[in-house]
Structures are given as C-alpha cells and as structure tokens.
C-alpha cells in the first residue's frame, strides 16, 4: 500500500471513529486506538500518540457548542483538573514502565467499561446524601437550566470524586484517551452532579487533561506526523458530523449497535495482548 492510500484509509477510519465516539459519548480516542492496533497493526505507542492529539481537537472543537447550552460548570471543571492533570503526568510516566501487552489489557478493560457505561440506564441520584462542607468552601455548585426556571445543585462526596478524577487522568495519560466515561462516573455517580452538567464539564476537562501528557508524548516520539495527521483531521471531522446528527436523530438503537462493536474490539484487544500479538 502506498503512503497516500494508507493515509486515506486511516482518515476514513478516523472519521468513522470520531462519528462513533461522539454518537456514543465515548470520545474518538477510545475507538481509534483499537482500530489502529487491531485493524492496521500500528504499534500501540504510535496509536495512543495519534489518539491523544485527536482527543484535544474534539474537546476544544466542541467546547463552544457545549458552553452555549449553559450546563458546563467552569469552577467544578477547573478544581477537578488539578486531579486529572497530575494523574495524566503519572499515566504518561507509566507508559515507559509498563510492558506493551499490559497497556493493551488495561485498554481493553477500559473499553469494555466504557461500552457498558454508554448503555447504562441513567438514574437520578441527586436527592440522596449529605452536604459536603468542602463543596461549599470550594463553591462547587451552580444552577442548571430547566423547564420552569434554573435548578440549583451542589457537589457531594468531593474527595471520592477527586480521587476518581486522578484515576481518569492516569488512564488518559497511559492510554492516550479522553477517559470521558470515568470523568462522568466521578461527577455523576460520586459527586452526584446532574448528568448533563457531568457530561458537558467532562468534555471541557478532556482537552486540558490530554494537554498535560501531550508534551511528554511528543518528546518521547509517540506522535508521528504521518499518522497523527489523518487521525486528527478524521476524528475531528467525524465528531463534528456526529454532534450535528445527535441533535436530530434518535440514537438509542444506534448506541446499542455501537456498544456491541466496541465490546468486540475490546475483547479482541485483550485477546491479542494476552497472546502477545499486540
């Protein structure tokens, strides 16, 4: 295969990955890495390098659209970014210490969890729990637009959320993904923030988290221009198309179909890692 042909294939696959990532809410990174490693036999280090830059592109590219909805909370995001960026440094450091097949196995498990999280039934957990004095001190509260006026909310269980954010950052630095599923878990399940606030604030945080490990990836030579170019442009285009479709389409069935595809990729990755093919 010639370089232009290869680049076009990678670009088209990245468009689909970006589309899938935005329709399922998983993010493009978690889809493109298994596609590059399993289908195109790209070494996982180059795959996560290309993925990480595409993650920054989608996060920053979608920010304006999310902000306009009025759900994202800049204070909660900024406070939790302390945990995610430190976690990302730790994760990027881990990539040099952990053998490749172990990265593959962790990736597969995160992929399976993400697929589960994307089809999980969203319950309302708002009412339960006591007020966390830390949340008041750090002003981790806000109001959310709703029918019949703004609804106030306050974060709960701040230490639990902060710890989960450190984990999300570490996974982002280790795997070159946005780890949106874990970030949403931290805000929605641990801190009991409204789901819409969690997802939009998570999108905002993903770019900053990824930037913390991007410099390290670049200096270690994980970011190959010939590969990152079609991946970044493709994932960005795909996710922008996806966010346009989301507004119009009924995506429940799509989500389930995609979750099945992702489970298959996740299992393939774990299997390839265990048998040493990755």
């Amino acid at each position: 295969m010639s370089t232009p042909e290869f680049s076009i294939w990678i670009f088209l696959s990245s468009v689909i990955a970006g589309l899938l990532g935005s329709l399922t809410g998983l993010g493009g990174g978690v889809v493109i890495v298994p596609v590059l490693t399993v289908l195109f036999h790209v070494d996982i280090h180059y795959a996560i390098g290309a993925s990480l830059v595409s993650v920054i592109a989608t996060s920053s590219g979608a920010a304006a659209a999310y902000v306009r909805e009025g759900y994202s909370n800049i204070r909660i995001g900024m406070f939790l970014e302390i945990a995610t960026t430190i976690g990302a440094l730790f994760g990027a450091w881990l990539t040099t210490r952990v053998p490749t097949h172990a990265i593959g196995i962790v990736f597969g498990v995160v992929l399976l969890y993400s697929a589960y999280a994307s089809i999980r039934v969203k319950e309302h957990l708002q009412a339960a729990g006591r007020l966390d004095p830390l949340a008041t001190k750090l002003r981790l509260n806000g109001t959310m637009p709703a029918e019949g006026g703004a609804v106030p909310y306050t974060a709960q269980r701040v230490p639990a959320g902060f710890s989960l954010m450190f984990l999300a950052g570490s996974l982002s630095g280790l795997l070159g993904i946005g780890s949106g599923a874990v970030k949403v878990l931290a805000m929605d399940q641990a801190m009991r923030l409204p789901f819409k606030v969690s997802t939009t604030t998570s999108n905002f945080m993903i770019g900053v988290t990824a930037a913390a490990s991007a410099g390290i990836y670049l200096s270690r030579g994980y970011i190959s221009p010939g590969l990152a170019m079609p991946v970044m442009l493709g994932v960005l285009a795909g996710s922008l198309i996806g966010s346009k479709i989301l507004v119009h389409a009924q995506v429940k069935t799509l989500r389930i179909v995609f979750a099945v595809v992702i489970v298959a990729l996740g299992m393939e990755m774990v299997f390839n890692s265990i048998t040493g093919k990755l």
């Binding site: 010639s2 592109a57 999310y66 800049i74 590969l227 960005l236």
Partner: protein
Amino acid sequence: MQLTDQKLEIAIGRMLQIGVLLAATVVFIGGILYLRQETGPRPDYSHFTTGVAERFRSPTEIVPNALHGRARSIIQLGLLILIATPIARVVFAAVGFLVERDHLYVGISLIVLAVLLYSLWHAF
C-alpha cells in the same frame, strides 16, 4: 456572578474553536505537502523502537523546520498549536477569575497551569 461565568465560558469556547480551526488548517496544509512528496510504500508503524526522528519532537526544531516549508514539521507545528489551545484556556480562565475577584479560583487555575507547564518543561 453566574452571568459573568457564562460570558467567560462563551469567550473561552470561541477561543478554543479558533485555536482548533487554526491547528487543523496548518495540519491540513502540511498533510497535502506530505502526500505530494511521499508517494512510495506506506511507512511501517508496527514496531515502536525509538520513536519518530528527533527533529519532530521539540518546538525548537519543529518551528524553524516548519518555516522552511518541510511537510512533516508543518504537521507537527499544527499539533503544537493544538496542544497550546487547552493551556491558553486555563490562562484565559485565570484572568477571568481575577476580573471577577475570585482569588480562590485564580489560585486553583494557577495550580493547573503549573502542572501543565511542569509537564512541558519536563518534556523538552
């Protein structure tokens, strides 16, 4: 205060979009040049030994090479612009909090900025 926050976030969102657009344009231009000159067999990415060449790894080498019109360095320059967008976002937020006189959050933003700058300083 909520109204100012909303305005601040909209301004930041716009800035991020412009940054991404600029980065994507530079990557695209580099990509076109790259595809015009690389017509041979596809590069092999199946084994990671030492990573990409040194000249694609640090801003001090990427920027001058990109200015000389080298395709892959132009792509890397676009990616550097991309990496800079979320960092600019944190700076922008810190300034916004300062205008709002929210000193606690100026401090929190500066901690995040310090971590980001530490990672860059440590990397290059």
